[in-house]
Amino acid sequence: VNADESIIFVVDDDPSVRKSLGRLLRTAGYAAETFACVRDFLGREHHDGPGCLVLDVCLPGISGLDAVADLAQARYYLPKVFITGHADVPTSVRAMKSGAVDFLSKPFREDELLGAVRAALEKEQQERGARAELQQICERVKSLTLREQEVLEYVVAGQLNKQIAAALGVAEKTIKVHRARVMQKMQAATFADLVRMAGKAGIPSERYQRDRLGDGR
């Protein structure tokens, strides 16, 4: 990921605070944008690139904490650093539970803020990598034919070729061919690799597991 594409979004209703935080982040080499409230931020063109949010907990309208759901709905997966001038234990617990990277009490030193931002960007990069991998796996699964998808479900559920052939009413040789195509299209080097990738994409699905149990009876 190109670090130059990272943007730090500061959301704080106090004009002096957001101006100074924007300055500090920019002098530290980051691209920073500031907003008075979450709605303003959501009004901006959607940012798909890397970055993180520095969010005040107490914002007018929707608070920073309550905004977490709105952000998710707007497909924003950016890690959050919460800042507050009014730290109390329940709020900080709620913030950390909501998946915040850090929770800083105002006034904080630059090393606290920059450290939290660095950690948030690292987390974002990791999550972005995981999301990209998942997307790749899903695309590979989509490239399978319907029959191949079916075979994949049975295979990762631990069924033998013979059992799959019986279940689908085809020859065992045909299953072997399907299986090879699945390995190839999924770019799986080993069976374990296939199972790992399938697991990330939610395969075997619950429906197949249920059917399998039904067969077992």
Binding site: V17, S20, L24, T27, H86, K106
Partner: protein
Amino acid sequence: MSSTLGLNPRPAADPGSLSTSTPIAELLDAAPTMLYACGADGSVAFVNQRLREFVGNGAESLLQKKWTGLLDSNDGSPSVHMFLAAQQARREYEFKYRARRRDGQLRLLVDCGHPHLAADGTLIGYVGSVTDITAHDRSADEPAASFEAQLLRNELSHVTRVSMMGELTASLAHELNQPLTAILSNAQAALRMLGDASEVPAELREILRDIALDDQRAGDIIRKVRQLMKKDPFQLQPVDLNKLVVDVSILLESDVLIREMAIERDLAPNLPRVFGDRIQLQQVLLNLILNGLDAMKAMPNDGSRKLIVRTGSDGQKVRIAVTDAGIGLPAERGDLIFEPFFSTKSDGMGMGLSISRSILVAHGGLIAARNNAERGATFEMELPVMTENEP
């Protein structure tokens, strides 16, 4: 018969009615409470100096009439009838009622009457005392309405002061932390911008560093003050909200009388208990009721200045709703009423509802306000029902 008891209101004019009449009558006049005596038929034979002072010019007219207290004509309870019935039954009685003092102020009185019986049991008459128990402008040497109510009042005002300080410090800390954050970040951003450029005077960097250090010092002071002002830990116990309503409305009895208003209680039977700090919850309710009374101040005194306190529960939550018939919530800024320093009263600090909300949130409850369909507003506090694993 009645002449043996007939203490003359003007003892000097008729010194012979009691063998030691003059000193006793003087003694009675000197008593710091209002005293009266009446005959077996209830006709008033004597009122002491204090009582005459209370009534003023009308004092003479009390004599020869039947004693039915100093009842204000507007006040229905207790009735004249209750006095006469008690006297007829030769019972002791104690009635609480309000009466207008000669200066026009309404006072809350307790009237105690004792039957005076002859050796053979026949009724000679009644002797009685009337005590002004109005809490309003009561001076320290006057007797308290009730020791418990007074204790509760003291306790509450202490808690109110403490939570007021706590809330004030928290708000102040919040307000100050914003500019402190900006100052610190600006100073540190400036230091970064200067970098290690050699043409910059060394002292400029030092100035910026000093600003940053002093800013942090100010931040530390605020943090310490906040820690110092942290509220006392909760004294958690099972609380019956019906009893809470009764306690608080008794506490406010004289206030309500003086304001010529009324509190009506509508208490749900078998109300589940909640787990909380009794004094703090009392403080919230007291605050809501006083707000409601204040809101009705400007309304005409036509009998509609009534505040209703209602309790209820759905099995999960217990609610107390305080409905007034006052001026209602501000039309536009209704969402701000729970914010600190927001007040619609000219003499309000704007801390009451803010503290109330803090207390309820800390109890896992909430507080809400709405305008009534007709007039006035309703404030509702909600608390979770006490669970079994709470002692």
